[in-house]
């Protein structure tokens, strides 16, 4: 063996494991220039060998590329400005960055296209398993409520970092449940609000689908759900801001979400984020009758609003949609509840009217953070109360 070692040294071979005995195999890194000589030598001396890695250099290059890429993703996600409003493209790019930085936890699910053919994405936070009980959160169903999308962007990052940092209760929630977060539920509308500061664009609420009135496009996506569709608090006039659409789920954006949730079949909570008014509400919107789970839902919402308040002192009011805002039929929260998703809530974020839809960007992070306090409470409660 000593003779061989001397020979190997001459060939500039790099031993990755050292020769200990003749019984144990040895791993050797062979430079390309010595490849033939080594093979010939080994064959001549009847030393059996197998090639473990054909091209170590290639692996090293790939590994380095991945490291550079990861560092860049890291930098991108750290440098993302959460204290600003971003357009759709930037938000979609943020989602890709987030997924790339947390590929073990987050994936991006394509749930279909919008009226103007944009892709609708949901971020799936999952530690594995098949159709674990799940929590649904959507934002931006009304285009002009920019604080909603901005909050959801921050929340996505927060869930990811809390999981990574093993911060309770996120790891525990994610060990039992999946979280699905849709940052932009109405991409067409959101793009429209960015076209111009002119109020007609910036204050657009609905989708951008063609209606029976060519002068009045768009349907109120939160009146288009199959929950007492055609009932009070929604208009049948295409020119109205709360136009419900020609029929329940006529809007592709709504249908995509409905199909996704129904096909999944195991959602336990449905939370929708809007602005403004500082309210945390539960079903029903279409009727003033108490929902069967009203006492529990009211308690959960009350505790969640207290958690929210503990951060900045922001006061939220709690109640059913019908009584707190107004009768509203065809609403997503009612649809979810009627499908058996018990823990269904609707947030109306800051403020109470001073800036309304035009909430200054310097309030994004504090709004998102206090919302997180409430959301975290609700998710933990849902997790602790399986049904």
């Amino acid at each position: 063996m000593r003779v061989y070692l001397a020979v190997f040294a001459l060939l500039a071979l790099d031993f990755w494991t050292h020769a200990v005995s003749t019984e144990r195999p040895v791993d050797i890194l062979v430079p390309h220039s010595s490849l033939n000589a080594v093979k010939v030598f080994l064959k001549k001396n009847n030393i059996p060998f197998t090639v473990m890695i054909n091209n170590v250099q290639e692996l090293l290059v790939r590994e380095r590329e991945e490291m550079v890429h990861n560092a860049e993703m890291e930098r991108k996600s750290k440098s993302f400005n959460f204290a600003a409003y971003h357009d759709l493209e930037t938000i979609y790019s943020f989602m890709d960055t987030l997924v790339a930085s947390h590929s073990n936890l987050i994936s991006k699910v394509n749930i279909g296209r919008t009226y103007e053919n944009r892709t609708m994405y949901v971020l799936k936070f999952s530690t594995g398993g098949v159709k674990k009980p799940a929590i649904w959160i959507d934002a931006g169903i009304h285009a002009r409520e920019w604080i909603s999308h901005a909050t959801a962007v921050w929340l996505a990052d927060r869930i990811a970092t809390d999981f990574m940092g093993n911060r309770a209760p996120v790891p525990s929630i994610l060990s039992h449940m999946d979280i699905f977060l849709m940052i932009v539920a109405n991409p067409d509308g959101y793009v429209f609000t960015h076209l111009s500061p002119n109020p007609h664009y910036r204050l657009w609420r609905k989708s951008r689908s063609a209606t029976s009135n060519p002068k009045c496009p768009g349907v109120d996506l939160n009146r288009n759900w199959d929950a007492e569709f055609g009932g009070p608090g929604a208009s049948d006039d295409p020119c109205a801001e709360d136009y419900r659409g020609p029929s329940a789920q006529s809007e592709i954006e709504v249908k995509n979400i409905v199909d996704f949730i129904m096909n999944h079949g195991n959602f336990k909570s449905f939370i929708t984020i809007h602005s403004y008014m500082q309210l945390l509400m539960y079903p029903y919107g279409y009727s003033g009758t108490d929902a069967p789970d009203q006492p529990e839902l009211h308690d959960v919402a009350t505790s969640a609003s207290k958690a929210l308040n503990s951060w900045h002192g922001t006061v939220y009011k709690v109640g059913s949609i019908f009584h707190t805002i107004k009768p509203a039929s065809g609403a997503s929260v009612d649809w979810a509840y009627l499908r058996g998703i018990k823990y269904s809530f609707a947030f109306e974020l800051r403020d109470t009217g001073r800036y309304g839809f035009l909430l200054p960007a310097d309030q994004i992070v504090s709004t998102a953070r206090e919302t997180w306090f409430a959301l975290r409470y609700i998710m933990k409660y849902v997790c602790d109360h399986p049904y």
Binding site: Y85, K215, H323, G356, P360
Partner: protein, 279 residues
């Protein structure tokens, strides 16, 4: 207006073209709505309840907002606008002459002093007449310690002196901008617009509306008259129940002595061919 209508027709053929120039009054502003859909009375339940009202429910809140509009028309200024903090107690009853009277106990804060400001306790009677044609609600209001809150006389005077000069020609659009930004200089003008808009919001309110000012589309200073600052505003009001955005042009005057007065208001249709005003 005619130019706008024809330009709109042209542009409707190219609906999906890229972003229009921000400065241009977009013909696409024409939503086609002949007038804002008259607010539909909600179903009976909350509206019919007589006696104590749940303070967190909308009937009490809407009535309180009306009282707020009244408060702002009387005590609002470039450095003071009141916002509703919360309703403590509320009750309602039908009155003999036809109409519904709300009794309210609520707190307000001054938006001008930010979150640091103290809350003021107020009580109000708000009467919504129930007439064929809409008529403005009647408000009786009392806020404790109103006279004791920090006077804004100094800021009022400085602001007045700065802009009363004949050379002053303030003109601005989109206050705040899409991102909620507003320059320091524009803040008093925004507040004046908000106070002036309160006159309209008060007048147009009913039990089925809940108005707020969404945005100031434009501010154009006019020639001062009788030592009053004269400002023409175009404001956008947001009605919470219907979610409609309603546009009004108005001419207001202000001075530290006389406060805000609204001289002219004009409802602006979102579409040139519409004629009917709301209500």
């Amino acid at each position: 207006m005619k130019t706008f209508c024809s330009v709109w027709l042209l542009l409707s053929l190219v609906e999906l073209s890229p972003a229009p120039p921000a400065s241009q009054e977009p013909p696409l502003a024409c939503t086609g709505a002949p007038d804002p859909a008259p607010p539909q009375p909600e179903t009976a339940e909350d509206m019919a309840s007589t006696g104590d009202l749940e303070p967190t429910h909308y009937p009490a809140r809407r009535a309180a907002q009306v009282a707020l509009h009244y408060l702002n028309t009387h005590h609002g200024s470039p450095f003071r606008v009141f916002g509703l903090q919360q309703v403590h107690k509320a009750s309602a009853e039908d009155v003999a002459a036809g109409g519904r009277k709300y009794k309210l106990d609520f707190s307000v804060t001054d938006w001008g002093s930010g979150s640091a400001g103290p809350a003021l306790r107020c009580s109000a009677d708000v009467l919504f007449p129930r007439t064929e044609r809409h008529s403005a609600p009647k408000v009786e209001l009392h806020c404790e310690a109103l006279q004791q809150i920090n006077s804004t006389a100094q800021e009022d005077d400085a602001f007045y002196q700065k802009y009363i000069s004949p050379d002053s020609t303030v003109s601005a659009r989109d206050i705040p901008d899409s991102f909620g930004n507003m320059s320091e200089e524009m803040q008093p003008f925004w507040r004046l617009a908000r106070v002036a808009a309160s006159f309209i919001m008060l007048r147009e309110s009913s039990e089925n509306t809940e108005f707020n000012m969404a945005k100031v589309a434009s501010i154009t200073q006019q020639e001062s008259s009788e030592e009053q600052l004269m400002l023409e505003f175009v404001v956008l009001l947001h009605d919470f129940p219907s979610q409609e955005i309603v546009q009004w042009k108005l001419l207001a005057s202000w001075s530290p002595d006389r406060g805000v007065r609204v001289l002219q208001t004009e409802w602006q249709p979102r579409c040139p061919h519409a004629t009917k005003p709301p209500n």
